[in-house]
Symmetry: C2
Subunit: 304 residues, 2 copies
């Protein structure tokens, strides 16, 4: 059996981490955007071998347990102990790992949904396990619940699925510009001194957004957060200023990656494309993914 799941990429605009010993109570407050591109997970399940085997691959390359702790944690929990067969988890990422697109959560949630679909379970049980894996292995705190919410989401109560509460903003048909320039390691930032500033600036941004809950306001607050925490500086800040010259709403920094994002109106797409081509930086322009993650049986060679 082959099962496919698609999980949107999720970029965070601003956030407040909420740590807790119980992984389901750990999470984050904040706001973010789900994209039409993201993570595709294909789970291939074939019985009939003498042992229970679980394998994972990222973008076609096999990965061992040490390099895919989150995926193996999820799979080990969902493949029954007495299953004799081969389970292969193929994860394909539209954006680079470590750049702040929620790839690890996408892999965790996609794996959890695909294996729950095959072996039994519900959306909530799958989502809880993916969140737990993310928190325990420090992949992220708010991506799983953000991806489940879709669209432009606002985490108003921290926690995992069934505990956290996620709101959504209304939005018109914006496109999203993303400029991924390099990785930032979530666990290093969250272990450092900047956490205090993130808590102060993130809470301020969330309060202000809830008073005026519009995507345009979110971008202004995201930018204040990025600058106020000291995370957006140097070359990245200069690039943000260049981009701002051709857009109505401010660009901001992808949390947490060395990269930028912005909301584009239709008539701004061409200008920003030629600017970024001139500057020679990599970029992508995608839609906002408003629907849920997808999961279902996959028939090779097309739909049945």
């Amino acid at each position: 059996m082959l099962v496919r799941a698609f999980i949107p990429a999720h970029i965070t605009a601003f956030f407040v981490p909420r740590f807790h010993d119980d992984p389901l109570k750990a999470g984050s407050l904040g706001a973010g955007i789900n994209l039409d591109k993201g993570t595709n997970v294909f789970a291939s399940i074939e019985g009939g071998t003498l042992e229970r085997h679980i394998h994972a691959a990222f973008n076609g390359e096999p990965v061992g347990k040490r390099d895919a702790e989150i995926t193996y944690y999820v799979a080990e929990n969902l493949v029954p102990e007495d299953f004799l067969g081969e389970v292969e988890i193929w994860q394909y990422f539209d954006f680079p790992n470590g750049h702040g697109f929620g790839n690890s959560a996408g892999g965790a949630l996609g794996t959890a949904l695909a294996l729950s679909y095959a072996f039994g379970g519900t959306w909530l049980s799958a989502a809880k396990l993916a969140h737990e894996a993310e928190v325990i292995h420090k992949g992220g705190l708010g991506d799983v619940v953000g991806q489940l919410a879709g669209g432009i989401e606002v985490r108003v109560k921290a926690g995992g699925p069934g505990i956290g509460v996620v709101d959504n903003l209304f939005f018109e048909d914006y496109r999203v510009l993303v400029v991924p320039l390099g990785p930032l390691h979530t666990r290093e930032v969250l272990d450092g001194d900047v956490v205090k500033a993130i808590e102060v600036e993130g809470s301020k941004a969330l309060d202000a957004l809830l008073k005026d809950p519009r995507p345009e306001r979110m971008m202004v607050l995201a930018r204040s957060f990025a600058e106020g925490t000291g995370l957006l500086t140097g070359d990245l800040m200069e690039l943000a200023r260049e981009i701002d010259k051709v857009l109505k709403n401010p660009s901001s920094m992808i949390m947490l990656g060395k990269g930028l994002f912005a909301l584009l109106r239709k008539n701004e797409v061409d200008d920003v494309k030629s600017l970024l081509a001139d500057l020679g930086v990599p970029y992508d322009i995608t839609g906002i993914h408003w629907e849920r993650p997808k999961v279902g049986r996959w028939f090779e060679g097309g739909s049945e």
Copy 2:
């Protein structure tokens, strides 16, 4: 400005009411299915008059406050006090009112989303208001959160949006048969002696479903609930037995309407159609609505 919202019809398979003085803590446990047909709400908002006017119409017929308490409650809360203009709420229902399709919740949620989209607010604030209106005016307890969840939903923690927790079952491509034969008044059933039986049978069904969370199991449990509570009897029971003869999974009763529903596999559609045509009963066959409710600006004469 014209804003359109679509809210799926929501039929309940089994339930346990949970009453509470705080409307947001009132709700229900249980399971249900969202359909591809449902309620379309068009909110027309035009400023520039000397007074603030709110009007509503059901299926094209104007309705006064006494006959549309829920809609007016929602609209009065969302149209600003100082707005000078005409607000018209046009609600169109694909299924008849009072037959257990969640029309009142569809109207409440559609109105809340459309007016929040126009005047400001978020998905969560709109959803809370719609649930509150439903509970206060006894439209229903679980339809709003069920409609927000989409698909085949299981209410595992009772309460309104942000408090209740709703799970989803995985399902393959079933069609849904609905046979609406007449109205049942929610408030009369919930005020009667049957509530005790509903609580006992509903809790039993929920526990059993969570141990084996599959749509096929839900139908078996729904049928036990319908019979165990004494709600499914007489002619309706006989019709259910006729339908069962041509289906793999049992049919059950729409809670709360005088009607039946069933999950259809592709190869069962023709048989059930000819059976129901022979019997001369009204029916409809629709898909399961897995996506979210929709809301957005509406451009007359087609999409822009």
